[in-house]
Amino acid sequence: MNEDTSAYWRRLLDLDKPLTADPLAEYRSWHRILRSFFFFLFKLLSVIFFPIKASGIENVPQNPPFIIASNHLSVADYPSVVAKLPSSLRDRLHALATKHFYDNPTARFFLKIGSNIIRIDTVLDFFPALRAAARVLRAGEPIFIAPEGTRSETGEVLPFKMGVGILAVELNVPVVPVYIKGTYEVIPSGAGMFRPGKISVYYGKPIDPAPYIEKKKTTQAYDVYKAFTEDLRARILELSK
């Protein structure tokens, strides 16, 4: 029996609407001119104070669109994950930032230097951000998501929000699972300054959404997105071992 309910979800993501001529225009801010300098400085500091060990970086596809999804411990997560990616890929990455940070002018300034930022309201309505993320992926660009939606204060990987599963399955894009360790010790929540430490970033093999897309024919869409999201979390936990 056909249980596929994804037509409604696809409409929510505006997948039935054509892209505008330049769907990425709103993310191209002047802050980008400082990006190379920011990462140069970050890498310089990391060499001296918090060396970053990256494993499995070859698992990151060379050709977008794709999603990079990691656990979330610290504001140092994003730069740690992308610091060792080729600059051509790094400059194309878009990232979701919660309104808590985006609406703070100082935080927004640094966020926009570090990435092409999509504002997300995880409390009241996160569909506008999901639609924006879908447009970016449809335009052939990569996205970074921290599916926990907030930083973990304990180091434990929190339950994942399902947006990443919705995007991966409906846009048919692979998701690279990433496990980060050590960033909380380097920049804990609320700290104004970094501390010396060691950071490890493990990139896993991309998860192909194809089996989940097939599963939608016999299962309601919510269950498929949830299964994908739980699989992603399990893969990230495996990387932690």
Binding site: T5, S6, A7, Y8, L12, M162, Q220, Y222
Partner: protein, 76 residues
């Protein structure tokens, strides 16, 4: 009866026995439905009745009775 159809549909989507689904129970606080499962209920209604209820109307839904009211509104 549309009430029975919707009750049956919601029970199937959220995977609880129909008899546990009371008309005035809060779907979110009493039954523990999260907002995205609420969206899935709209998706199932869309499939069954061909009605496109905006996801923002989820804010107007607390009980099964609220849901039936919205479906009736869109079916007109």
């Amino acid at each position: 009866m549309i009430e029975d159809e919707i009750k049956s549909l919601v029970a199937k989507v959220v995977k609880i026995p129909e008899e546990k689904l009371k008309m005035d129970a809060n779907l979110f606080t009493d039954l523990g439905i999260d907002s995205l499962l609420g969206v899935e209920i709209f998706a199932a209604l869309d499939k069954k009745y061909k009605i496109d209820i905006p996801e923002t109307r989820l804010r107007d839904v607390k009980t099964l009775a609220d849901l039936i009211k919205i479906v009736s509104e869109f079916k007109k």
